[in-house]
Amino acid sequence: MENKRWVISLIAVWTGAIALFLYIPIFSVITSSFGKSRYFRFPVKAWSDKWYDQTLGANLTTDLHLTSFYVAGCVALIAVVLGFFGALAFARYNWRGRQFYQRLIMLPIFFPQAVLGLALLLWFTFVGVLPSWEAAVFAHLVWIVPIVTLVISIQVYGFDAAQEEAAYDLGANRWQAFREVTLPALAPGLFSGALFAFLLSWGNFPLSTFTTGADSTVTEWLYTKMGSGYTPMIPTMGALSVFGAIVILFGGYMFLIVQRRRRLERNE
């Protein structure tokens, strides 16, 4: 289709402007984290990384990040396992009730998260589970498992199920077929599912705030601190979490690319 040049340019400029808009606050956080003064003034007169030394040296930093990490790690692991089976039911098999199931499990995604967090808090109290980071894992899963199921489903839709049958037919047992064919074919989907789960859990606030109890994640701490006024530790902690997310995202992306390349080169 012919699109007029100026239309393309206009849309490109618009996209660029919006992308810039998306990054403004991130740059703001990073800029202020390197300011030297105790109160944030812009333009920054003196730069310093002393807040990083201070923040990184604090036990609190380690604790908060460890909690966030435990939660996100457990969520990613469990969500991928549940999402894997969920996606097979979603996209691989044709069964009576599938349409209903597809809509049912999407409901938690289309649900106000703060309300979900609160409902889970009530539920935990009712069944006698104390709020803790483990409870937060469960809470995150309620929202994240459906998302991971969708992410993996997209891969499953592209998977020709006859490949599995071909593997049996060529002498593989159930486990061999799974390990040699199903798992490698779905691996990219599982991996992006895990990545999604980890990052969404890492950044989640509305579910955590109701369910972590005495344990606190980085985002919860930020929320509390922001409510009570500025300290340079807030942007520093924020910037650290930005770097963390970028490292994980790019690390994951690179890993995926290297894996794909290796698989094609390797010949066993």
Partner: protein
Amino acid sequence: MVNAAPILRMVNLTKQFGRLVAVNDVSLDIQEGEFFTIVGPSGSGKTTLLRMLGGLEKPTAGDIFLRDERVNQVPANRRPTCMVFQSLALFNHKTVGQNIEFSLKMRGESRRARRERGLALMNVVQLPEDYYDKSVTKCSGGERQRVALARALASDPDILFFDEPLSAIDYRLRKLLEVELKDLHRTTGKTFVYITHSLEEAMVMSDRIGIMQEGRLIQIGSPNEIYLQPRNKFVSEFMGEVNTLAVQAGADGGIDCPAFERRFTSPVKPDGFTDGYLVIRPESMRFLNDPSEAENHLEGSLFNEYALGSRVQYHVSAGGSMFVVEKLREQAYQGGLNDDVLIGWDAKDSVLVTD
């Protein structure tokens, strides 16, 4: 054909999915080294039948014998048979070599033995050796067919099953691969069981053909038998364009055609024939200068003509229906459209079938 014990025997084989009967009471013997093709429209149960033979589906009733051994409950991975799937089901995350050697790897053969066999097979299916490390996703349609074929041959199976592997391929390549497949059948000497919805494809390759309709095997025979003696209207129309006339058994051995209020000379009648259809192939139909030139004739007018390369096809409108006449190009009809024409046939070139 030598009448030895069949390599594959189906006895009253039936498969139900819930309330749907996909395969209904099929009994069939397939001989060693035979190229047997099952033909049927989609939904006729042919794929289900093949999947039962391959062990991917368990029969609801009836038995499958492989060299006199009942294999109903033997799963696919322990049957000495191999399937080439409709989608080919190549492992997209593996290379050509890894795909071909899959069954050998499952058996635990050494990497060197696998490679040797893999390369030999690539030679058999005419794939260049440097494709060994190529990703299957980078292969063309025809190359993928060859990889699938080599992969199925790798475990040296007794029987190869084919589930319409050529259906998604363009006409010219399909014709080429049909010939190659038939040649491969000769050189390997293995039993091939092939399913397709195209009787034309089946005719080219097969020793024998079985026609399936609504879960039942309605006719089994050599390509010639199927062509010359279709069992019913369904089979005759499956061949492509034919002329069919609704008829009834008439007095003095002839047959009556109510639509044209004519009596035609009858070919050999099936036992107990009362009413059915008279089938005349387009190439058996001819233009007449005079009614006396053929045993039967109809008056019509030439509606249109179509050049088919070596042949020419004509549509002749007669009594409200359209008849198809086919001629070699050298014997083409000389005249114009809307000409009044006489078309006719002899009883020996027609077949009577029931519904």
